[in-house]
Amino acid sequence: MCAASNPVAGRDGLAVLDAEEIRRALTRIAHEILERTHGGDDVILLGIPTRGVPLARRLAARIGEFEGLDVPCGSLDVTMHRDDLRLHPARALGRTDLPPGGVDGKIVVLVDDVLYSGRTVRAALDALNDLGRPRAVQLAVLVDRGHRELPIRADYVGKNLPTSQREVVHVLLTEVDAQDSVMISDDGRQP
């Protein structure tokens, strides 16, 4: 039985995915990307900082293992394109790092940890627009928690997680947080 259907109540939140489940979800997404893009030719994975970037790297590694294919992988910072900039003090920028060759004519798969309002993805589409003209853009997310505010959907989803808007979903990844898990907590408290 997986922990998702039998969540463990932590002190500050519920763990809804553990490291094993994240691994399996990414493996499935990697297979789905290969299937949907007919072998992964011309695919570029672009992670949205912070946690989309290690997820994109993991997917690229997976695809490399399965098909021996070297999928270019990079990061796309969307801060300057956000629609909520004026609601917060100016934030530090993340890195934008395109693989050599750029995005023109490629199938770009955007990778992020959580899909929520869809506003980050809208910003990413705008940012991408200034970088070139991909043949197609797809979206892969580890968690889709619903409550979309824009007409945006993911092509690849690790886990659909029904949430209330009061709840907060935290994705923790080894590369950033020293552990792999997805937590859900009731308010703004960090797990």
């Binding site: 394109h81 900039l85 917060h88 003090p89 530090a92 993340g94 200034d130």
Partner: protein
């Protein structure tokens, strides 16, 4: 960050690093097909220039335009200033037009500080008299960090200038660039030495966070960076040195002096240069010179400053000092 950028002393180490790291990310914009970001759409930046300037005004204008801000250029020549309008009345006019930021260059030290009391938007000091020129110091720090602290952008991120030895040479007395650089570079951990004839050092130099030397030749072998200052003849009201030739012989950077620098050292100049006076043409055009790079980095650094001051929430009105109107 404070809402204005008047002096390099307003910047903490964390603020300065945030600006340099932001500039580092924005630098990649120059290689992209579309060199524009939508971030400051609908914001207005006024360039208020009471003194002549090419590179600073164009640099600020390019930076604001790349962030999609609207830019209004105002130069004292051909404006109501020529008819005798005061700085305050000009400021209130700009205020009424809804400027979100005012970039000011003025011949009087302290002009930017005064202006900040009269306008609601952010004030960016682009040079006030012989006082300060903080964005020049930021672009110099950015250039030094890129050249000497990791060539690729990721290597330099978050790094200060700790342990680097910077020698600033020449007309310190009239130089706003020197003062801003001393303050900022020492905040970032560099050891700054001023090398100048005693007549071209300000009286209060003892209170600055730097060392002072009258002998350029003894400083060169231990310098990582040499920053040559322009001899500002337009500000010189007395005889500060016997002749230009003698100044050039003792404090000018020629090929022979450049050879005394360590292998990795770089030569900087804020421009405009007096070739043959403070810097020899061969030195200005050598591979060690970062003079052209400094201009390119100026746009990037000013974009970072404009973004950090204007890109987020507007500063609460309570911070706005009381205005007597």
């Amino acid at each position: 960050m404070k809402r204005h950028l008047i002096s390099a002393a307003d910047l903490s180490r964390a603020d300065a690093l945030l600006i340099l790291d932001t500039a580092e990310e924005l630098a990649s914009l120059a290689d992209r097909p579309i060199k524009k970001l939508p971030t400051l759409r609908g914001r207005t930046v006024v360039n208020l220039f009471y003194e002549d300037s090419t590179r600073t005004r164009i640099s600020f204008e390019a930076a604001a335009k790349r962030l999609s801000a609207d830019v209004i250029n105002f130069s004292a020549k051909g404006s109501s200033v020529a008819k005798g309008e005061s700085l305050k009345d000009t400021a209130l006019t700009l205020e009424a037009m809804g400027a979100d930021a005012v970039v000011i260059r003025h011949g009087a030290s302290g002009a930017a500080h005064r202006l900040a009391e009269w306008v609601r938007g952010s004030v960016l000091n682009a040079g006030d008299g012989t006082h300060e020129h903080p964005t020049q110091a930021l672009l110099d720090a950015f250039t030094i960090r890129r050249r000497l602290r990791g060539a690729d952008s990721s290597g330099a991120r978050g790094a200060g200038l700790d342990g680097l030895r910077v020698t600033i040479v020449g007309d310190v007395l009239h130089s706003r660039v020197a003062r801003s650089n001393v303050l900022l570079l020492s905040t970032l951990g560099a050891e700054v030495t001023l090398a100048a004839p005693p007549t071209l050092l300000p009286l209060a130099v003892g209170s600055w966070p730097c060392a002072v030397s009258y002998d350029l030749d003894s400083e060169l072998p231990k310098s990582d960076v040499v920053m040559m200052l322009r001899v500002q003849q337009e500000r010189m009201t007395a005889a500060y040195f016997p002749s230009v030739r003698e100044y050039s012989r003792r404090y000018g950077l020629d090929v022979a002096r450049m050879a005394r620098l360590p292998e990795h050292a770089i030569v900087m100049h804020p421009g405009p240069m007096n070739r043959g006076v403070e810097i020899a043409a061969e030195v200005a055009d050598s591979v060690r010179s970062t003079i052209v790079e400094q201009v390119a980095n100026g746009v990037t650094t000013r974009m970072a400053v404009l973004y950090l001051l204007l890109g987020g929430t507007e500063f609460p009105v309570t911070e706005f000092p009381a205005v007597a109107r």
